[in-house]
Assembly symmetry: C4
C-alpha cells in the first residue's frame, strides 16, 4: 500500500514530530557528533484510522543551520517520500527497514561520531568498563556487518545485531553508529552517550587495560537505570 | 528526625543556595565535563534555630537547559526530598553521605568527565607531575573503590578515600570523579581542574614518562596555593 | 596581460564571490580547522567579455572576526593584487597556480587543521577505512611534496598530486592540507570532512589496525555520493 | 625607586593598555588555553617623563567573565601593586622579571594549555616538524628549568632560556608555557600557535616519527614570516 500524502487524521501528529525531530537535530552538532551535513534523526508517527505508519526524517545534504520543522520530510515505511520539497536523507532506507522490523522502536539516529567511528573502523565492540555504559547500554556496544548503501543490507545489519541485545547502539563496521529508542529523543540520547563512552574507553585503553565490571553489577545498574532514573 | 518542609528560618539561605547551585551547573557543560543530563552539583545549607542541615541538588535526568534555581530540589541529610516537584538526582544518597560524615564539606560535585573517567576505568591514581596539580590537589588524585548505586557504598567510598587526604577529588573506580569543597563553587573548581590535569597527564604519558616533582616542592606549592592565591 | 582593476562586466560576480568567500571563512573556526589568522579560502570568478579570470581571497594575517565581504581582496591568476586595501594571503601564489593549471577547479582552501597536519608531518597518506572517506575522497588522501613559500613549488606540488586523483585533498608534507572543489563551498566541505576522517582514522589506528574496505565497495560508494547525494 | 600611583603623564597609555589586555584575556578561553581562572596576560607601559615603566596584568583568581579593563591591575617592574583594587596575578613576579631583563619584550603570557603542559611535564622540547612552527618559532620550542613560585627562579628560567633563542615560547618544566612578544597581542598569538603545534606534533608522533624539516628551510620560513607576513 502506498501513501501519497499525509492523511488528515495524522496531520497534527506529523507536525508535532517535525518540530521534535528538527529540534533534536540541533543536539548533534551541540554534542559534536557530526560535521557539515552528516548525521540524521528520524521518528515514527504511528498510523491511525487504518493508515499505515509514517516517519519524519532530515532531508539529504542540508546544513544544520537550515533544519527547522518545515525543512523536515515525511516518508512511508518503504522509504518513499510522502511530504517535503527535498530529497530525504540518503540513509532513509536503513531507517525505514528498522521501523518495519522493530515495532517497539520509534526513533532512529545515525551519525559518524569520531570515536564510535574509530571503533567501527577496527570492527571492535566497546567493552563495558564504565558504570555509565552499564546504565545505558547494559553491556558492550556490538559491531554490525560491513554493508553499503544501495539495498537493505544496512537496515538488516542493524536489526540483526540489535534484536535480542540490550544495547540501543550498533557500530556498523567501517561506517559509524546507528542508535534506536522508544522515541527520537531516546535515540539521540543513546547517540550522545555512545560517543562519550567510545571516547572514555578509548582514552582509558591508551595507557593500559581498563578493569572489567562484574556481570552482576552490570545487570543491576542496567535494571535500575531503565526503571528508576529520571522523572516518572 | 525528618524534615518535611524548609523551615522559615532557613528560607533565605535555601533560596540563595538554589541560585548558586543552578548557576554552577552551567559550569559543567561550559568546561565540557558532562554530556546530556549527566553530572550534578550540590551545596549544604547549614541548619539554624535547631533545624538540621539541608542541601540543594539537581533533579534527576533534567536537561542542562532547564536548570534554573526553581528547578533545584532540597533534601535532608538522609537524602529525603524536602522541597521540589521533581525527583532528586540519583546520586543524592552519595552526596548526603558525604555531608553527614564530613562536617567541613559544604559542596559536592559528581561528573563523568572523560579523562578522569578513563583513569577511573583503569583504577589508576593520577600522579602529581604538574604544578597546577600540586596547587589544587597537593599530590596524586586517589582512586576509590568500585561501588554501585543502591546503598551507602559510594558515599562510604568517597569519605574513606578523602578523609585525611589533601585531594578534594576521588576517582571512583569504573565510574567517575566526585569532588568536595568548602562550598559548591570550590567543588566545581576542583572538578574543572581535575579534568584538566587528568587530560594533560594522560597526554604527557602517551609519549613517555613525565618527570616527578620533588615532594618538598609539592608541599610548598600546595601550602602557598591554599593560603595565598586569589583575592582575600 | 595584467589587470589593474575589476572590469565593470565582472563587478556583480566579484561582489557575489566576496560575500560567499567571506561567509565561508566563518566555517573554518566553526569546525575548528584554524587558529588565530591561519587558513584561507578563495574562489575563482570566471572572466567575461574577454577579460581574464580573477579570484577572491582572504587578506594576510587578519583576524577571523574582521572577515566581512569588504575585507576580501581580488587577485588575477598570476597572484597580483587587483582590488583591496590589504595584502592578499601569503598563500596566494599557490591558489593562483592551481587556478591556472586546473580549469575545473573554482575553489581552493588551505588550513593547518590538527590531525591532517599530523599525517602531513609524517608524510603518510590517510588510508580509506571509513565509508565517509570513500564517499568524499574516493580512496586514500595523498601526500604532496615538501615545498616552501617563495616560488611555484607549493602550487606545482598540489597540481601534480591531485591531477588524475579522485581526492579533492592533498596533505602537503610538513605543512598541511589544501583542498579543491567546483566552487569555494565544495572546497570548504572537503577541508571539513578531511579533518574529520584524519581524526577518526588516527584514533582508530591508536589501538590497532583498521579493517580495509574492498576496492569495489569504495568505487561504488564514491560513484553514488558524487552523483546521488544531496539535493539536485 | 617605588611608584605609588600611575603618573598623570602615563594615564592615557595605562588606560589603553588595560583595554587591550582585558580584550586579549578573552582570547585564552576562546582558543581553549585555560580553565577556570588560570592563565594571565600582561603588557608593559613604557615610562615617560622620567617615570619608570609599569605593566598591566590580570588580578589573581578572577573569573574570565569578569575581566573588563577596570578589573586589570597595574604594577611596577618590581611587581608591586600600583593601581587596582585586587591582588595582582600570582605570576606577577615572573612577568616583572622578564620586563626588567628583556628590554625588547612588551608582552608576556602564561597559560597551562594542555598539550604544551604535557611536553613540559616530560621536560621535552617540541621538535620543529611543521612549517607553521618554523614560521612562528624558528625552530624547536625549548624547555626551561623546574622552578616554583616564591623567588625569582621562574622569571630567571624564562629569561635564561629565551635569551638568544628565536622562540618566543618556553615550556617551564612540570609547569607550562610562557610566551613573550613585542606587545601583549604578539605574546597571545605565540601562546595560541604554541598550543596548536604542541598538539599537532604530539598527535603526529603518536603513530610514528615526523619527518624533519631541513635547517635551511626552517631559516628561510622564519625569515619570511617575521618580515613579510601580514599587513605592513
Amino acid at each position: 500500500m502506498t501513501t501519497t500524502e499525509v492523511p488528515a487524521a495524522m496531520r497534527a501528529a506529523v507536525d508535532a514530530a517535525k518540530e521534535r525531530v528538527a529540534a533534536l537535530h540541533a543536539e548533534l552538532p551541540r554534542w559534536e557528533l557530526v560535521v557539515w551535513t552528516a548525521g540524521n534523526v528520524s521518528e515514527r508517527v504511528p498510523g491511525t484510522d487504518g493508515h499505515p505508519d509514517l516517519f519524519v526524517i532530515k532531508p539529504s545534504g542540508v546544513s544544520y543551520d537550515e533544519l527547522d520543522a518545515e525543512a523536515m520530510v515525511v516518508c512511508d515505511l518503504d522509504g518513499n517520500l510522502v511530504e517535503g520539497t527535498r530529497n530525504p536523507s540518503s540513509d532513509t532506507a536503513a531507517h525505514a527497514y528498522v521501523y518495519r522490523h522493530m515495532d517497539h522502536v520509534n526513533g532512529v539516529v545515525h551519525t559518524h561520531s569520531t570515536y564510535a567511528a574509530a571503533w567501527a573502523a577496527r570492527g571492535e565492540e566497546i567493552p563495558c568498563v564504565l558504570t555509565m555504559m552499564a546504565d545505558e547500554f547494559g553491556g558492550p556496544v556490538p559491531v554490525g556487518p560491513f554493508a553499503i548503501i544501495g539495498d537493505d543490507s544496512i537496515g538488516r545489519g542493524i536489526v540483526e545485531t540489535l534484536t535480542g541485545h540490550r544495547s540501543p547502539a550498533v557500530l556498523m563496521q567501517n561506517h559509524g553508529p546507528f542508535t534506536i529508542g522508544k522515541d527520537a529523543k531516546a535515540a539521540v540520547k543513546a547517540a550522545v552517550l555512545l560517543e562519550e563512552v567510545a571516547r572514555a574507553v578509548h582514552v582509558s585503553r591508551q595507557l593500559g587495560e581498563p578493569l572489567p565490571i562484574p556481570q552482576d553489577a552490570i545487570d543491576s545498574l542496567y535494571a535500575r537505570y531503565q526503571n528508576v532514573y529520571g522523572q516518572r
